[in-house]
């Protein structure tokens, strides 16, 4: 069966190298069909079957544009999440599906799509940059990555996260819970090509997308070498700064 991966709004959701996530998946799934849906087009998931819906990082105005395009399809997105369709929303894309986004410096307070009960506060002069390492249900090895963001997400800790950090902050500096997870929906504020950087996570996602047979990981040796080198450094206490600690 040919898998379909839909990239939403790639003309604006293309920052920080995150689109390499889909490039890497397409290397692992050479038969997969990649659909690129523009801002002024109706998403394929609205009327057809899609196996993975992807939305990458956006500018602040880009977030508002994406929200305006997704709000009309809120019920369909909920239906797909509930029925187990895979979603991957990276960096600030996840924030679009929350209750609201508040940006005092840019002078707006806008509702999000409203699928998840969290809110986002954007501080244009308060960019946070730090490392993250943690555990993700089902993934055999730690997930490693980075945050570099203007925003922090506030929510009830009861909303399941994508991962629980062992080092580095979660949705905000007071929690180890990072991102959002509901069925096969993954939302994470990690920045950059998370799947390229985490071969074990990608292998797990591939198995979930295509269980029988599970496709092999592309560029496996190189990906593992890069991951293992980074993990070794992340385990080194000297590479962590005080601001990367969760204020328990």
């Amino acid at each position: 069966m040919t898998l379909t991966i839909e990239m939403l709004f790639p003309e604006i959701a293309n920052l920080y190298g995150d689109n390499a996530n889909i490039e890497f998946l397409s290397r692992c799934l050479p038969e997969a069909r990649i659909v690129r849906t523009g801002l002024n087009e109706t998403p394929q998931f609205v009327t057809g079957n899609v196996d993975l819906v992807y939305l990458g990082p956006l500018t602040e105005r880009g977030q508002l544009r994406a929200i305006s395009r997704l709000i009309p399809h809120k019920a369909r997105i909920v239906e797909l999440i509930d029925s187990g369709t895979h979603f991957l929303f990276t960096h600030n894309a996840m924030e679009c599906l929350g209750a609201r986004i508040v940006n005092a410096e840019m002078n707006y307070d806008e509702p999000g799509v409203g699928i998840f009960d969290f809110s986002t506060e954007v501080g244009m002069f308060d960019r946070y940059t730090g490392k993250v390492m943690g555990n993700c249900d089902g993934v055999s090895e730690p997930v490693v990555g980075y945050k570099s963001q203007f925003s922090m997400v506030s929510s009830s800790p009861e909303i399941p996260g994508f991962m629980r950090t062992t080092r580095g902050i979660g949705r905000n500096p007071t929690t180890h819970v990072e991102g959002v997870r509901r069925n096969n929906f993954i939302g994470t504020s990690l920045i950059g090509p998370v799947l390229v950087m985490n071969p074990h996570l990608t292998q797990w996602l591939l198995a979930s997308l295509s269980p029988s047979p599970t496709p092999p990981l592309a560029l496996r040796e190189l990906a593992l070498a890069a991951y293992n080198a980074r993990l070794r450094e992340f385990h080194d206490e000297r590479t962590w700064s005080a601001f990367e600690r969760v204020a328990d």
């Binding site: 604006i12 920080y16 190298g17 801002l39 980075y146 570099s148 090509p193 080198a229 590479t239």
Partner: protein, 448 residues
């Protein structure tokens, strides 16, 4: 208070650094607003080319017999800008310069422009820069627009849709651009295209021509929006005469530039546009821009024993700069070997570099059959190898070594026409110089 600060600093005499500026601002926090200033104050900003454009503009104004305050040798942050202005006042606090040409870091705009309210702001371009510091160019454009005074005249790159969005309704805008050569594409390629949708209707834009990143001219197929027409335009080189046409509003003069790289042509166009705003006659502008010589670049290209040895600053963490370096490699003919060492050394001892930026860079240029081998040195060599392989480079062509310099010993020179020594800013001496020295020695030995 401002005069006192200026006097004290004039007596200290420490020009060309940020120190006097910092002291002056400590003594007089609103010094930028109260210091005696030249009749004309010009600020030059942008992601790329602001240093060169500042220097060229200062040279151009000096050629007009104007006395110029500039931070050519100093910092482009607020302290350095203050220090430059302080250097332009006498011990009585009186201004003694005709004009100030001040390079400004884009992120410093809110700390500089509201108080300074310059007469002219020149913006060379706004493209992706450090993910950590600059986020995305729309953020930088927002900072600049928030800080620009409504009375300031803006000199903007018409081929950069993000730059042309700067300012408000009341700002006068003068646009400069570089005409297409015909070699450009009508479809963008690469990772960092930041102006893809129409600012009016969100439709995907069509490219009249695409040069690199989001630089080029666009039109919207739905609402008719187009890039602004440049008031000052530089034509391609005429193959017969070697001359370019410099169109200034309705007039045109022929010029021969000292450096025909597209980057330099944009910088010269920005200078010409600024001179036009200052009401300099087009014929005078033409003769001045012909006399301008860009400062030596961090670039070296020599041939030893028939092999080209090219040293290229390849600014790590900044994908668009790396893409330009890779594109240059591809433009050089022959069979090539590359030494790549672009780790961010500041992240080496107390951090772990985020290599997401490498996926904002077009490593795909290096997946070319003309490239025989790529020697990658440094801590992040495994990330680099993975990025190269993702770009389509044959993993068998990639040689990894923890040392940033050992590649100069390992590189196989047989059958190689050109070797590229790519390093970043921070390791320019420790790695760039060392590699260059080793390669020169090996090539000289081979040729003797």
């Amino acid at each position: 208070m401002g005069k006192c600060a200026a006097l004290a600093l004039r007596l200290i005499g420490r020009e060309g650094t940020h120190v006097p500026g910092r002291i002056a601002l400590w003594v007089c926090p609103d010094l930028l607003a109260v210091i005696a200033r030249p009749e004309t104050v010009i600020v030059v900003t942008g992601t790329n080319g602001k240093t060169t454009t500042t220097n060229l503009l200062a040279d151009a104004l000096s050629a007009l017999d104007l006395s110029v305050s500039t931070n050519r040798a100093g910092s482009n942050l607020r302290d350095g800008i203050v220090a430059s202005l302080v250097s332009g006042v006498n011990i009585w606090g009186k201004n003694r310069r005709d004009v100030a040409v001040l390079e400004m870091d884009e992120r410093s705009a809110l700390r500089v422009l509201p108080q300074l309210a310059p007469d002219i702001v020149v913006c060379t371009n706004l493209t992706r820069d450090s993910i950590k510091r600059n986020a995305h160019p729309e953020f930088i454009a927002w900072i600049l627009t928030s800080a620009i005074s409504p009375t300031t005249t803006l000199v903007l790159n018409s081929d950069d849709l993000i730059t042309v969005s700067l300012g408000g309704d009341s700002n006068r805008r003068v646009f400069f651009g570089v005409d297409p050569t015909g070699d450009e594409s009508s479809e963008p390629s690469g990772s960092a295209v930041d102006a893809s949708i129409c600012p009016r209707c969100d439709e995907r834009l069509q490219w009249v021509f695409w040069r690199f990143n989001h630089i080029g001219r666009v039109r919207c197929p739905v609402c008719g929006f187009t890039s602004p027409v440049a008031d000052i335009r530089v034509s391609p080189v005429d193959s017969l005469t070697g001359l370019r046409s410099l169109a200034i509003n309705t007039e045109s003069v022929s010029v021969r530039l000292a450096n025909d790289s597209i980057v330099n042509v944009y910088n010269v166009a920005a200078v010409a546009a600024t001179l036009d705003v200052l009401a300099v006659e087009p014929t005078v502008i033409g003769s001045i821009v012909e006399s301008l010589t860009p400062p030596p670049s961090r670039f070296a290209d020599e041939t030893i024993g028939g092999v080209r040895l090219v040293r290229l600053l390849t600014k790590g963490l900044v994908g668009v700069a790396v893409s330009r370096a890779f594109a240059h490699i591809l433009s050089v003919p022959g069979r090539k070997a590359i030494l790549l060492a672009v780790d961010e050394t500041t992240d080496r001892f107390d951090g772990v570099e985020n290599t997401a930026w490498t996926y904002d860079a077009d490593y795909e240029y290096l997946a070319d059959p003309s490239i025989a081998a790529i020697y990658v040195g440094g801590v992040r060599r495994h990330d680099q190898a993975l990025r190269l392989a993702m770009a389509g480079v044959d993993p068998d062509k990639i040689v990894l070594d923890e040392s940033e310099t050992r590649g100069a010993d390992l590189v196989v020179l047989d059958g190689i026409d050109a070797i590229f020594n790519l390093h970043s800013n921070h390791n320019a001496v420790s790695t760039g110089d060392a590699v260059h020295g080793k390669l020169r020695t090996r090539l000289l030995e081979l040729s003797s």
